[in-house]
């Protein structure tokens, strides 16, 4: 039972979280032409690093989407911060 830190709620049990993908996927501008392989890379390719990873997770009860840094081998949590920009 891992403990993940929601940037808003604080530390909670892993069952409250949902893995939402690796950090850094940028959606191509689909109003312009997007090459098939560029689109495929956006959709499917993963870095899938062994060790330090930066991922997007959702804390389901409060719906906060945030960046979680952790070690994918030891499962140590290295940090978390909100995905969104600071409020205006």
């Amino acid at each position: 039972m891992q403990i993940f830190p929601c940037p808003f709620c604080g530390e909670r049990n892993e069952t409250e979280f949902h893995f939402a993908g690796e950090l850094g996927k940028i959606r191509p501008d689909t109003t312009a032409d997007v090459e098939a392989d560029a689109w495929a890379r956006y959709l499917y390719t993963q870095r899938n690093e062994k060790g330090h990873v930066r991922e997007v997770w959702m804390h389901i009860p409060c719906a906060e989407l945030f960046v979680l840094e952790r070690d994918s081998v030891t499962m140590d949590v290295l940090g978390s911060h909100p995905l969104r920009k600071p409020p205006k």
Binding site: M1, Q2, I3, H18, A20, R27, P28, D29, T30, T31, V34, A36, W39, Y42, L43, V56, M58, I60, A63, E64, L65, T74, M75, V77, L83, R84, P87, K88
Partner: protein, 927 residues
């Protein structure tokens, strides 16, 4: 009665005798006994049989490291398989039976198998049984294998109590070190929890004459009292069986026999490991004979249960701690003969009533032979936690090395075998100070298996792995520790290698000419002791295994005779009435088609999307164009995944310029909410979009059919329901009896329909009012089965039924946005891949058949290949005949074609048609 019970020894309550049976014979023991101790007290020597050769097995040890005495035990109508006799506390009227032996452990008819041991060595089964076929041999082998038998009955209230807990300091093990550490920590003001797997804490201290100058029992009682006084907790009969990610520790609490264990998921800031050490066997010929047991185990039998394993005892030991045990046994009146295991040849013989040892030409008989090959610290949890091990040459054992975060090992678990040093170490650990491992006074002569020596020498007692097996494995190059383990099954018995791993490693090291640490250790995996699978069955069971969502109107439906069933995660009325379901459902369809039906649509999603960017956001989320909708209008649309596949369908209502309501499928609400939230926060400005899932605030009653408007009119609402004013796909808000209602003119049935939504607490009143208002028009409550037929008649899809994980909107005939929509939307680019443009895509069509109902799930076949399948199929009460929807390759271009339908080996033909069988022009819908 008890031939081997010694007065003034042991902790059992001699005022409470208990009666039990083993292999059909009756015995007596005392409260506080284990089944094993009571049997030994009754002079029963053979308690089990080994797995493969069915060799007779006596008790090896007094607690969880015993691999031999495994029994199916029943009591009070409860039968539990594979109980370890040494850890099962005796209860009155227990009936125990040795596993894998018949008719009894003493006289097992399969005992003769041992004669064939030459041919049954390590891995023999990999080398034969191939011709003609493994299946010929397998059934017999399966019957031979296995230990206990499981009774087919289901124990009614056998469910684990599961909880979460936390403490500052968790002390594992209630021996001298553990108690001392727990006392120090709790008196230091820390929140302490001490767990010990026995009924009485104390570990091995009862074997000592005194602790800190006190009688051991008094000392234990004093420590427990002090711990409790300081606010600490002591959990008896509780085993820490595994450490998991982020330091979560699984604790199993056992109770009386037949009562399911409890699970505590413990979170501790610090863990003090005081799990002690295990006595390990000595490897010599015939060392598996009954009557040969661990020296520490025999001392524990005496100290805890007052049982002396025999009068005339041989002790074979190689280390200094043996003296404490010998002193104890001597105090109880045993005559001890010391045997030096180094003098060879040395072997055991006999076994039925006495155990013989032959050494250097001399042969002697003993009541029992007590061996001790050295102490192995119990470091399983340490390894679970990721702690490293160091080989200690002085102690001939692996010891905890660098400390993992949050865990410290003390006492014998840390190789600190001297009580005075251990107590000091424990006090330091209790208050959070690490102490350096002191020099030890313990001395041991290395004594490990000697390859190439003669005789059958057992390494794994339960699994019948002998030194010879390890030699063969090495000879065949199964030399990595894991290969050795898997090839010979060494250490894979139910004691998880507690007795066998070290000897096995040492044997392989000797064979390879390596040191023990060079060979390494196998992985220590949880659980430390076998735990009942039921430990994991807590409140999350039966109805609470993915609990269904309940309707606000459930009791109303029940009162109306609804047949409730699971539909998309909700418990909903399938139909109403007790008659034949098909007849009832057909009647509901007819009533709704000819007059008016009333349907509970409450589970439909109602997600408010609000804010300045709401329109543009939904325009991105939906395949369809949303930002052009006028206020008060409703639009049907699809949400796609980025792979272009339809994720959900439903209607969107524009409530106000900055306010939309997304009505997604009932089963998808949670998923859609998360989907919207994810895209809101990633890629959009979350300060300009807010998403409120208000689904469960609302209840929705759908009135559908030609008379729907009449019924609604009778409610006396202040809105004009005329079709020309209140058109299909639009919304009105008003009050009904002082409560706000939303009325949406949308339809899933294909008839004129109004969905009236009201806050859930007012739903029953509204429903009752509609039932009353509808009575003159022949209103009929309809369930979801009738609705499913009606929507299929109209060709309306159900996501996941009439679509699959490849279906895109253009496969359903909604091709417009794919070509025309210019702004970006989810999944847009994926609608133009090679696959998306493929002519042979499966497309939604109707099927008509002259041979009756087409089976749902039947395939359309051509030239031996599947070209699609039937997704929905009903006997249509409206059309008086079968209708079907199907996904068929290139179906849109094949209208009118006859196709071959395959179902379970039989074929028939059907004709492709448009997927709409009712009100094709939409006159009724728009009326």
């Amino acid at each position: 009665m008890s031939m081997r019970r010694i007065d003034n020894f042991g902790l059992v309550d001699r005022a409470k005798p208990l009666s039990f049976s083993f292999d059909g014979r009756r015995y007596r023991g005392f409260d506080g006994d284990t089944v094993a101790s009571a049997l030994i007290a009754s002079d029963v020597r053979i308690l089990g049989r080994s797995f493969k050769y069915h060799r007779p097995r006596g008790l090896w040890s007094a607690w969880s490291d015993d691999p031999n005495a495994i029994m199916d035990i029943s009591q009070n109508g409860r039968v539990l398989p594979n109980c370890q006799a040494s850890t099962t506390y005796l209860e009155d009227a227990m009936s125990a039976r040795a596993v894998n032996a018949w008719p009894s452990a003493a006289r097992d008819i399969k005992g003769g198998l041992d004669l064939f041991h030459r041919w049954l060595g390590a891995g023999f089964y990999y080398k034969t049984f191939m011709w003609p076929d493994w299946h010929l041999f397998e059934p017999a082998i399966r019957k031979m294998a296995g230990l206990g038998s499981v009774s087919q009955d289901v124990l009614s209230d056998y469910c684990a109590d599961q909880t979460f807990d936390h403490c500052d300091v968790l002390v594992v093990g209630g021996g001298a070190a553990g108690l001392t550490a727990a006392r120090a920590a709790s008196e230091d003001g820390q929140n302490v929890c001490l767990v010990d797997d026995q009924r009485l804490p104390g570990g091995g201290v009862y074997q000592m004459q005194s602790v800190d100058g006190q009688d051991p029992s008094d000392w234990v009682a004093d420590q427990c009292k002090a711990i409790r006084t300081a606010g600490g907790r002591i959990l008896n009969q509780t085993t820490a069986y595994g450490v998991y990610d982020h330091g979560l520790i699984g604790l199993m609490q056992t109770h009386r026999f037949g009562v399911a264990p409890g699970l505590i998921r413990m979170r501790a800031d610090r863990v003090v490991l005081a799990t002690g050490a295990l006595d390990r066997p000595i490897t010599f010929p015939e060392n598996d004979r009954p009557g040969i047991m661990s020296l520490a185990g025999s001392a524990e039998l005496l100290a805890r249960y007052g049982v002396l394993v025999g009068q005339n005892l041989a002790v074979v030991a190689n280390h200094s701690l043996a003296e404490t045990s010998i002193a104890l046994l001597t105090r109880a009146g045993a005559e001890i003969t010391r045997i030096d295991p180094k003098v060879r040849p040395f072997k055991a013989y006999k076994g039925a009533r006495a155990t013989g040892l032959k050494q250097g030409g001399h042969a002697r008989l003993f009541d029992a032979v007590l061996t001790s090959g050295g102490m192995t610290p119990v470091i399983h949890l340490w390894r679970h936690m990721g702690g490293k091990l160091d080989w200690c040459e002085t102690r001939q054992a692996f010891l905890p090395a660098e400390t993992p975060a949050k865990m410290i090992a003390i006492g014998a678990a840390n190789g600190t075998f001297e009580i005075d040093v251990a107590l000091e170490e424990a006090r330091c650990a209790g208050i959070g100070h690490a102490s350096l491992r002191a020099d030890t006074r313990y001395h041991i002569t290395a004594l490990w298996p000697e390859p190439a020596s003669k005789g059958r020498q057992w390494i794994d007692f339960q699994h019948d792995v002998t030194l010879k097996d390890i030699e063969i494995a090495a000879q065949e190059n199964y030399v990595s520790v894991e290969h050795l383990k898997r090839y010979t099954t060494l250490g894979m018995a139910s004691d998880q290698g507690k007795t066998s791993n070290m000897a096995g490693l040492a044997a392989m090291a000797a064979l390879q000419g390596q040191s023990i640490p060079e060979v390494g250790t196998t992985t220590f995996r949880p659980p430390f002791v076998p735990v009942p699978l039921e430990l994991y069955r807590g409140p999350h069971r039966e109805q609470n295994w993915h609990p269904l969502k309940r309707l606000p109107l459930e009791n109303t439906h029940r009162a109306m005779g609804a047949a409730l069933g699971e539909y998309g995660g909700w418990l909903r009325p399938g139909w109403y009435g007790d008659g034949d379901p098909k007849t009832q459902i057909a009647a509901e369809v007819r009533a709704a088609r000819t007059s008016v039906g009333l349907f509970d649509a409450s589970p439909l999603g109602k997600i408010d999307v609000m804010g300045p960017d709401a329109a543009d956001f939904l325009n991105f989320i939906y395949y369809n164009t949303i930002n052009t909708m006028t206020v008060g209008s409703i639009r049907y649309g699809f949400m796609l995944t980025e792979a272009g596949v339809i994720y959900d369908d439903g209607v969107v209502t524009r409530m106000a310029h900055n306010h939309f309501v997304v009505s997604c499928s009932s089963s998808h609400v949670d998923g859609v909410r998360m989907h919207l939230e994810a895209w809101r926060q990633d890629g959009h400005d979350p300060d300009n979009i807010y998403i409120h899932d208000t689904t469960q605030h609302w209840a929705t009653a759908t009135i559908t059919g030609p008379k729907a408007r009449h019924v609604l009119n009778s409610l006396g609402l202040d809105i004009d329901l005329d079709g020309a004013v209140f058109a299909h796909m639009s919304l009105r808000e008003t009050q009904w009896q002082g409560t706000h209602v939303r009325i949406a003119r949308v339809s899933f049935s294909g008839d004129t329909s109004f969905e009236v939504s009201i806050r859930a607490s007012r739903a029953a009143s509204l429903w009752d009012a509609l039932v009353r208002a509808g009575a003159p028009f022949g209103l009929c409550a309809i369930g979801i089965e009738a609705m499913s037929i009606m929507r299929a008649e109209k060709g309306y899809i159900i996501i996941g039924k009439d679509t699959d994980g490849e279906t895109m909107p253009h496969d359903l005939g909604f091709a417009g946005p794919r070509i025309k929509k210019t702004s970006a939307f989810l999944g847009d680019r994926s609608l133009h891949t090679d696959k998306a443009n493929d002519k042979a895509r499966r497309q939604l069509v109707g099927l008509i058949s002259e041979n009756g109902l087409l089976p749902t799930g039947a395939h359309i076949v051509h030239a031996g290949q599947s070209r699609g399948y039937v997704t929905s199929s009903y006997d249509s009460p409206t059309l008086n005949g079968p209708i079907a929807l199907a996904l068929i390759a290139n179906g849109h271009a094949r209208m009118g074609e006859a196709v071959e339908i395959w179902h379970l080996g039989e074929t028939q033909t059907a004709e492709i048609c448009a997927p709409c069988f009712f009100d094709i022009k939409g006159e009724q819908l728009h009326a």
